[in-house]
Amino acid sequence: MLVSWRYRSRRSLIQAFDPSAWLIFYASFIASTLFFWDLRILAVFMLVAIIIVVTSGVMWSESRRAWLFIGGFIIFFAVLTFLTGRGGVEVYTQEHVIRTLKAPFTLFGWRPTVDVTVERILFALSQMARVFALASTTILIPYSLNPAHYGVAFRRLGLPDKIAYAMDLTMRFIPTFGRDFQLTLDAQKARGYELDKLQGGLIEQVRKLAPLVVPVTVHALAGSEDIIDAMDLRAFGTGPRTWLIELHYQTRDYILIAIGVIVFLTSMAASLLGLGQFWVPQTLLRIFGF
């Protein structure tokens, strides 16, 4: 049985566009974000992402788990990067220390110390803005793109019929296999299997993963026969494929694609010109007396 993503038709900005036009914009947006570490530019990307999220019509109650997971991860890594100063070393070379915080205790003679620097604060903020822009737009895809449109959207992006259909099936299978994994894990737990408490050396631990990996994989392959038969009965692959749903670009779709492409090309050009690198405002340095 196929389990579907939590898609439903909504009055939203994303669903106002053709799905393939939206995918082109999304890919351009993601690629453009990766070119920059400048907080000012990343703030613009983050703002666009917030607008997309707010207008998506996806309710907090239905996407809460995804947001909590990603939110927790973003904050956890940003805070740890800030505390340790690692992660940003490839982006900046000089640090301006605002204050050094020392713990009032020692651990085996070592006193935990945190250097609060201008660069660490800005890098943590830049990292949060960047990852939020990437993650938030990605989270919305399963909630906003109609599963019935996956195949035809990929086909319209220029992929051959078979590859487009394989991409379509891949997206449809992911929630199903996620559910199968959970069922298998629960079944194995009922038999005393504990994933969190794997014992033994590396080889033994890998071997103990087999009771999870093998049943899920074999179950998926066994179930595939029905799908293959159904496709063969409909003469899949014997000629050019037609799709039940036809999508047509409208003016707004062309505009969205143009915006995506222009943003991507501009971002790439800016990056090649050395613009958009990590930014430390001089005003901030002056405020802290540097």
Partner: protein, 311 residues
């Protein structure tokens, strides 16, 4: 594939590479201080190079049935990619936190492109690795590393090259020798640079962000993996499917992960030793352990299923 279509594909691939190479060259002229790690464009260049390599491989052996894509292959491609995405997401160290052993984290997902490649052919293997990695990254929500997706695709593709041979035993010794040479080169580089950081090991709780000195186990993991594969190869000499599956998977792993790691020499400006000792060894070595253990189990399970269903 007709000649006109063929030349269209070749032309498009070469065009992409020339376009990005031109941009980088022109970018360098405009901005002499341009650092290679400051541009994402190179990632796409390596995607082009990887796809070109795949195409050349296909072109040289295109008469072989292994490249055929029918209904069955389309469904297996989708199943493989979806499973790889789900397992990558679940075992990326955030959903299920399984303690790492000697800087080696449990990432069983890599066994999937190897298994799907060997059993269902190079096209299924490539799609499983490349698209599965892409969706796995997207599920986690942390952007995409397209050159690593291509690298994972190559793992599945090379594992599926076994299908080019009717006699599975044929070519196995050559595959073993090539893999041994690759493992030896990487391990010698580790011996010469034992203080290199393990860039694939992250333990935020302990304040480690890919900067801990590589452990002896991770440094020797390619050799350990090779020995394990060798043991499986000759331990299951009578079961040629298992012997061939792990041997081709080993070569696929070395070439695929090697491609992704070496691309970082240009993309991130890493010195070759950093890319090989810091990235390739800790990624490819442990993968061999998963290959040697999980791939044979999956192949056996698949063969049992085939016998039951009669397909």
């Amino acid at each position: 594939m007709s000649n006109s279509k063929l030349w269209s594909v070749v032309g498009a691939l070469v065009g992409v590479i020339v376009f990005f190479a031109g941009i980088i060259w022109i970018g360098g002229q405009i901005n002499p201080d341009l650092q290679l790690d400051e541009t994402a464009a190179l990632r796409f260049v390596f995607v082009g190079i990887g796809l070109l390599a795949v195409f050349v491989l296909y072109w040289l052996t295109k008469e072989n049935d292994a490249w055929e894509v029918g209904t069955r292959q389309v469904v297996y491609m989708a199943i493989g990619a979806a499973l790889y995405a789900v397992f990558s997401y679940l075992f990326n160290g955030t959903v299920f936190v399984v303690p790492s052993v000697s800087q080696v984290s449990l990432r069983p997902a890599i066994a999937l492109p190897m298994f799907f490649g060997y059993v269902f052919g190079p096209v299924v293997g490539f799609f499983t690795g490349a698209v599965g990695n892409m969706f796995g990254d997207a599920l986690t929500g942390f952007g995409l590393s397209p050159q690593w997706s291509i690298g994972n695709g190559l793992v599945g593709l090379i594992s599926g090259m076994a299908a080019l041979y009717v006699d599975k035993k044929k070519g196995l010794n050559t595959v073993l020798i090539v893999s041994a040479v690759l493992a030896a080169i990487a391990t010698i580089l580790w011996f010469l640079n034992p203080s290199q950081s393990n860039m694939m090991f992250f333990d935020p709780g302990a304040g480690i962000f890919g900067d801990a000195t590589i452990s002896a186990f991770a440094g020797l993991s390619a050799v350990v993996g090779f020995v394990l594969v060798l043991a499986v190869r000759y331990g299951f000499a009578s079961d040629m499917d298992i012997a061939a599956a792990v041997t081709w998977a080993m070569l696929g792993n070395f070439i695929g992960i090697g491609f992704a790691a070496v691309s970082d020499i240009w993309i991130n400006g890493f010195p070759p030793t950093v890319a090989i000792v810091g990235e390739f060894l800790p990624a490819a070595g442990p993968n061999m352990i998963f290959a040697a253990i999980l791939v044979p189990i999956l192949v056996r399970a698949w063969m049992s299923l085939q016998r039951q269903t009669g397909r």
